[in-house]
Amino acid sequence: MRGKFVWHVTFKELLTTVRDVRSFRSAVMMPFILTPIFLLGFPALIAQTSGGEVVRRQTVGVTGLERIPAGLRGLLEAEGGVKLQAVTDPLIAVQSGVVDAALRVPANGLPVAAGEKTVQLEVLVKFSDQRASVVRDKLEGIIGAYSRKLVVKKLAGLGLSADTLEPLKAKAVNAETASETAGGLFAFLIPFLLLNAIIGSAATVATDSTAGEKERGSLEILLVSPITRLEVLLGKLGAVTLYALFGVLVQISAFVITTALSPLILGLFGANASSVAERLGGNLSLGFGGFAMLLLIGVSVAMMLSGLLIAVCLYARSFKEAQTYLIPVQLVSVFSSIGLQFGDFIQRSPALYSVPVIGSVIGILDLVKGKLGLEMLLVIVASNLIFAVLTAFLALRNFRSEQVLFRN
């Protein structure tokens, strides 16, 4: 094998890719556009929307409005800021959207003092409606507060303090590391965006250098020159991997810049939205070692996917056909990101870390949260490299197959 021939092919593939100005511009710019949108825009938007819902005066339908004690009614209207409206059928009123929630007051009314039988007050809301959860929390909180007020009054009558009710109280203290705080709930977006960058960049070169060459007829001419198929394949693999690595570096730069600019950008959404968005996280807070680990995973994933993409694209007879074949591969990044939202529930093990792609995205998630150990990093990288060799063999087999190369 002649290394100079391999590099000659790699260089030409990279040159033609970079000269495709639109694709190149998109590869460079998209991470810098998408990353702040995903990591800052969405959390800020969610924070702003939910914050607005808390402030909004919701309408609450009530059957038996006249039976609500004045104390409770006062709390609901003044502290809860809800508007009470008499309705005959609370279920229909909620389902039709006439009211945001409804209360069904029992026929014998609600208690005005503690010490008698517990009365149940039904709060009707749509459980699947995220906006309704805000009014539900409000109503349950106010009913609880009213109930506590009655109990405290009763205890006072008996000469007991309110503390009698709560001899022991739990207090949650945040034990997150700085990385976990920065990653927050939206940490799963980081491996998703990184994987997306690898697949997107690798696919650009893989489709053009295989199916594109077939379509143009240049692959046949290249194979007629005195270069072996192994050299051609390694040259193309090199180009796909290097361009995917370029995608990784651009994406990591986008993370770093987005994190650095986050106070400034979130400030535009107001103090409340800003603090909620910061809690949702999605920021990358890594030291030099962390970035080195991230790069190592990125490179090994890029090598593994390069072989796979070339092997798949070689089956295609045209650029468009190759793009169709790559849809399932691209869906892997989407599905893994959906799964990662429940990442905290997934039991970690070396076997899990060694699963191609999945192990890597979980590893990146753990790295972002400062939980990835060196041993598990080695498992991920070793597994990726083994699969990289296997996918390269698969690509070579396809490259040597007459049926695949000259399929008609």
Partner: protein, 241 residues
């Protein structure tokens, strides 16, 4: 220069693209490989170019066996096929330099050779533009230049005039004529009989993967009492079918 003997190519169990094909082309001649679309010409040429492996039979190019010495064969052939096969985002010069490297032609020698071909094929002032900006005729000139960069002993032209206008077509035929010399052979594959009659001294006619006739163009016409090669082709293929 080219010796084909009992060549057969099967794709799977059902398709026999080429069956027991034998012909030979000597140095100094332009040899025609003629047949309708789907006759097996491209499959034969792909085997000659080491892209496909023969199922049986032997195939020698410039003294090298295609199955045992594929790289030596590739060093001695140049291929021009119907599809242009150019890289849109490279200039004509970059394309030629890219391929020159694989033939072990150094940078300075490559520049000299490109300069030579620039004049021979009238490509002046266009070599430094990206190939996506070329006309079909100019593209074909680059394709020909790429095929003869290393001055191969065997030049294979497979439907090389497909889609060309009269001027570009004429240029291809003239280049093929000029390229032939005492130590080179041009293998001209086409389904256009008029072109073959104009260019080739000898020809093999194949149909359905089998050899129908092989002789000088003059003898093929005499054998079938035809006025031209197209008529001869029809009579010969019909008598076999």
């Amino acid at each position: 220069m080219i010796e084909v003997s009992g060549l057969t190519k099967r794709f799977g169990d059902k398709v026999i693209a080429v069956q027991d094909l034998s012909f030979s082309a000597k140095a100094g001649e332009i040899y025609g490989l003629l047949g309708p679309n789907g006759a097996g010409k491209t499959t034969t040429l792909r085997m000659l170019a080491t892209l496909l492996k023969p199922s049986s039979g032997s195939l020698k190019v410039a003294g090298y066996d295609v199955t045992t010495h594929p790289e030596d064969v590739r060093r001695n052939i140049g291929v021009v096929n119907g599809g242009m096969g150019l890289y849109d985002r490279l200039t004509g010069r970059e394309i030629l330099e890219y391929f020159a490297y694989f033939y072990g032609i150094g940078k300075i020698d490559a520049q000299k050779r490109i300069k030579q071909l620039e004049g021979a094929l009238e490509m002046t002032d266009l070599l430094d533009r990206r190939s996506s900006e070329y006309s079909t005729g100019m593209k074909q000139k680059i394709v020909i230049a790429r095929a003869v960069l290393h001055e191969p002993a065997v030049l294979i032209l497979d439907e090389a005039t497909n889609g060309l206008d009269v001027v570009a077509r004429r240029a291809v035929l003239e280049f093929a004529r000029a390229y032939r010399s005492k130590d080179r052979v041009v293998l001209f594959s086409t389904h256009i009989m008029a072109e073959a009659e104009e260019l080739c001294e000898r020809a093999a006619i194949i149909d359905h993967g089998r050899l129908v006739a092989q002789d000088s163009v003059a003898n093929l016409k005499t054998q079938s009492s035809a006025n031209n090669l197209e008529e001869a082709f029809f009579r010969l293929t019909r008598s076999v079918n």
